[in-house]
């Protein structure tokens, strides 16, 4: 099978299948799937307003997708992106509220550290339990999602809630901790409004894509992570410590998930609210699988899911019968077809190329 078929054709067919089945679901609900698709695409990329949301969501998914992808390279399935991002949000909020920041240029590096450290810390316990005690990381990270959610409820209701406020959320971050958003691009003629959620974190996400690529394919640590992911006994033979790699891969993974809060908490909400992650941690799984754990693939898949997310919101508005959960269904089908049913497409494609080649001989 040629390389392009492996990295592009098979995932594309998988994706088409996932969308076909999603279309059937829409059809079942009694709406026209083509019409729904048109509404979604127009809503997501038909205006600067749409683009602002699409890329904002995509930024979230790049972070969580990279998080899952890095863990995948070490053959660790981190389903805890949701909780790690939530706790990362806590870190970002604490940093932003702790100091009356004079300027975002000072606040941003501190917030990055806060988000990354908190996210990594939340991944550290499941990682340690996996590495030392052999506890199934899939189950422990899921449990940590639940625990994170309970912890945030407690903190926002009982501890961090701003005085005199009804809803469980922190006070608004100081002016100096506000990231510039795409509204500034209006100056060069791009019609983004000052209220657009798209912000500087998008550039940070792209930077992270490049850094992760560098890490995985160019550094010694990345080499060791990949070797460990392919074969643990071989890694031990080569003197690569499984404990060290498991910990490092999960810490990086958790830190990336935590960085999502730079976008959603610092860049957009400018305060910490309950459920600031909104399922982005889980979408990261679909994004990583579709992007085949490669940063470029993750980037493209994240944009696609950004379109789906923003388009889905428009869809709910114009077709009330199709609720927001349609996104979850599409996300599930993408995971199913690109992740679990991959061989259903791959084997016939392989056979096709084998036949073609032997036919030529």
């Amino acid at each position: 099978m040629p390389r392009w078929a492996d990295v592009a054709l098979v995932p594309l067919i998988n994706l088409v299948l996932a969308f076909l089945v999603s279309g059937l679901v829409v059809l079942y609900i009694g709406e026209n799937p083509i019409e729904a698709l048109v509404i979604m695409i127009r809503g997501a990329v038909g205006s600067a307003y749409g683009w602002g949301y699409t890329l904002f969501y995509a930024t979230n998914f790049i972070f969580t997708g990279l998080a899952v992808a890095v863990a995948f390279h070490a053959r660790l399935f981190n389903i805890g992106g949701e909780g790690q991002a939530a706790i990362g949000g806590l870190g970002v909020a604490l940093v932003c509220l702790a100091v009356p920041w004079p300027h975002w240029l000072l606040a941003l590096p501190a917030a990055i550290v806060g988000g990354a450290v908190f996210g990594a810390a939340w991944a550290a316990i499941p990682a340690y339990l996996q590495a030392r005690r052999g506890s199934h990381i899939v189950i422990t990270t899921i449990m940590f999602n639940f625990i994170a959610s309970a912890l945030l409820v407690y903190l926002l209701v009982d501890v961090l809630k701003a005085p005199g406020q009804m809803s469980p959320e922190t006070a608004r971050f100081p002016e100096g901790a506000t990231l510039p958003n795409a509204g500034v691009l209006a100056a060069i003629g791009l019609p983004f409004r000052p209220s657009t959620p798209l912000n500087l974190a998008f550039l940070l996400a792209i930077l992270c894509c490049w850094l992760v690529w560098l890490l995985i394919w160019r550094t010694r640590l990345g080499y060791q992570i990949r070797a460990f992911g392919h074969s643990e006994p071989a890694a031990v033979y080569a003197g690569i410590s499984p404990f060290r790699i498991t910990m490092l891969a999960m810490l990086i993974s958790g830190a990336l998930a935590g960085l999502m809060a730079i976008n959603s908490v610092m860049g957009e909400a400018e305060r910490l609210v309950l459920d600031s992650v909104q399922g982005a941690g889980f979408i990261g799984i679909a994004v990583a699988l579709m992007g085949r754990s490669h940063p470029l693939g993750v980037f493209l898949a994240a944009i696609l899911f950004g379109i789906l997310y923003q388009g889905g919101a428009e869809l709910e508005f114009e077709m009330p019968a199709v609720s927001r959960e349609m996104i979850v269904v599409i996300q599930a089908l993408v995971i199913l077809f690109t992740g679990a049913l991959d061989n259903m497409v791959r084997l016939p494609v392989e056979r096709f190329y084998l036949h073609r080649r032997t036919g030529h001989l």
């Binding site: 160019r218 010694r220 080499y223 060791q224 070797a227 074969s231 071989a234 033979y237 080569a238 003197g239």
Partner: protein, 544 residues
């Protein structure tokens, strides 16, 4: 000599008795896996009540052919005739119905089941277990008395030795009324005496009229045990001859297609100072079983110390401990300096820095990352080499240049450093590992099963490289289950049994018979006592 033909369609041995049809006849069997043609137009006849050997190199297609006969794979073309009737064998169930039983090289037993449960599995008499087990217990007793197949029906598989496990596999086949028994490389895990026992069992089965197919790559077994022998090479059947009318040399030539050296050419060793000094090495595994029970040995510069023994007697653990993979207690000195066996400095990286390189027993599981390219694999274990690093990043260009040189010097084919390890043949994979480890010029090279799954052409090359390293004044610790290899390569031989060194011999002053006794846990000619100081050795034990 009848029926040998070097080219074209193979002939078959004429049937000795006109009346009896062959127990098995294969006609024109072909099978391809993707691009690899594993079997090409193979025809063979096996007469009832005989032991028929099938011999060939690794990858010659023997196991594939037998798997087709057992319904594990379907042939792309060809016919199977059992007792003169054309028989379709789409699955193992059909093979069992046709009276075929198979003992695979890797046993197909459920480890935490009892012997009885394993025998009954798939041949139960009804929904409930109790009656089936009771019946099986009765029949098992009969069978074991009849054929010397003694095993405890209530023992768990994981608690009995490999010899007993193999007997369970034979019992499984007989319990299913097999008239034709196929054994795939049955002696690989047995001591010489256990192998003799096996051949006695097979002889008894033949006398009862059973037909036996013995697949092996060991010429000696063919000569000792079989009535007729077929030779396979590169998926083709090159000859079928009567065993009494052939010789090992002729069979070897038929297997390889050219004359081969059966011995390694090397000059006498010139041993220097002691490089590796091991004293009272002990390892206990996760289950609490002691796998090394006080091993002591020395390896000198410029000599090859061969460790002989049946697989599973502690050789793998010895390599793993010395290679930094497994913790242990005891003392190990490298060039006079004690090395850490348990702590933070006990890992593969530190060992390499101490001048110990390791060609592991299982190159596919340990020695290589099969999904990595050749050049990525050349850095494997040496990822910290400053030559492969540039600042925080790896210097992939330097790595690729280095790999190209190594592939050329070690004749790796195809010499394309971008290919993934899994797309090389076994021999070429091993050459990549050897190139990586030998070119480090280590003071001590650990080598495990250097030629397992390697074709004969590559074997000569690999042996030569190991001898060259010795001649360069380096110490080599060789572990192999192939006695021929041990005797051919080593200067001194130590035999391991049950986690202990049973004795050491000068390679030129010993033979297979003596080593065989030591491998079975008996010291040869009643010569007791540690040859090279193995303190705390307990009383001699009989094989399990």
């Amino acid at each position: 000599m009848t029926g040998t033909s070097r080219t074209g369609r193979p002939e078959v041995a004429p049937s000795p008795e006109a009346g009896a049809p062959p127990a098995i006849e294969l006609r024109g069997i072909s099978k391809a896996f993707g691009k690899v043609q594993a079997n090409k137009n193979i025809s063979i006849r096996v007469m009832p009540g005989t032991i028929h050997g099938i011999i060939g190199e690794n990858g010659a297609g023997k196991s594939t052919l037998m798997s087709i006969l057992y319904g594990f794979y379907r042939a792309d073309a060809g016919e199977i005739w059992i007792d003169g009737t054309r028989t379709d064998i789409p699955d193992s169930q059909a093979a069992i119905r046709a009276g075929i039983g198979m003992v695979f090289q890797h046993f197909k037993l459920v480890e935490n089941f009892t012997v009885l449960e394993n025998v009954v599995l798939g041949a139960e008499d009804g929904m409930l277990l109790r009656p089936s087990l009771a019946k099986a217990r009765r029949i098992l007793k009969q069978l074991s008395e009849e054929y010397e197949l003694n095993v405890d029906p209530d023992a768990k598989i994981e608690d009995i030795g490999v010899g007993a496990q193999q007997r369970v596999e034979i019992l499984k086949a007989l319990y299913r009324n097999a008239r034709i028994l196929i054994l795939d490389e049955p002696t690989g895990v047995l001591t010489p005496s256990e192998a003799d026992h096996l051949f006695r069992i097979l002889d008894g089965l033949r006398r009862e009229g059973k037909t036996i197919i013995l697949i092996t790559h060991k010429l000696r077994e063919i000569m000792e045990a079989t009535d007729t022998v077929s030779v396979m090479r590169r998926g083709e059947m090159t000859a079928t001859v009567k065993t009494s009318e052939t010789s090992p040399e002729q069979l070897a030539e038929l297997m390889v297609g050219r004359k081969v050296l059966l011995r390694v050419e090397k000059s006498p060793a010139r041993p220097g100072p002691v490089v590796l000094e091991v004293r009272d090495l002990r390892v206990t595994d996760e289950k609490g079983v002691e796998r090394l029970k006080g091993v002591s040995l020395d390896v000198r510069a410029g000599e090859i110390l061969g460790i002989a023994g049946v697989a599973g007697n502690g050789q793998s653990e010895l390599l793993d401990v010395l290679g930094g993979i497994m913790p242990a207690t005891g003392t190990v000195r490298m060039n006079g300096e004690e090395i850490d066996l348990t702590g933070r400095r006990s890992d593969g990286q530190t060992r390499r820095a101490q001048g110990i390189c390791h060609v592991p027993e299982d190159r596919q599981r340990r020695g290589l990352i099969m999904q990595f390219t050749a050049w990525e694999n050349v850095a494997f274990g040496y990822q910290r080499d400053p030559g492969y690093n540039r600042g925080p990043l790896m210097d992939n260009d330097a790595l690729r240049r280095d790999t190209e040189g190594k592939m050329q010097r070690f004749d790796v084919r195809p010499a394309n450093c971008w290919l993934e390890a899994r797309s090389f043949s076994g021999g070429n994979q091993q050459k990549i590992v050897l190139a990586r480890e030998i070119e480090r010029n280590p003071d001590l090279l650990l080598v495990g099963q250097p030629t397992r799954g390697v074709d004969i052409g590559a074997i000569e090359f690999i042996h030569q490289q190991i001898v060259n390293l010795r001649d360069a004044g380096k110490a080599i610790l060789l572990v192999s289950v192939e006695l021929d290899e041990i005797l051919g390569l080593s200067d001194r031989v130590a035999v391991m049994f049950d986690g202990r060194i049973m004795g050491e011999r000068d390679a030129s002053a010993t033979d297979e018979r003596e080593l065989g006794l030591l491998m079975a846990g008996m010291s040869g000619e009643g010569s007791p006592g540690p040859v090279d100081g193995a303190p705390g050795r307990g009383p001699l034990e009989q094989p399990a």
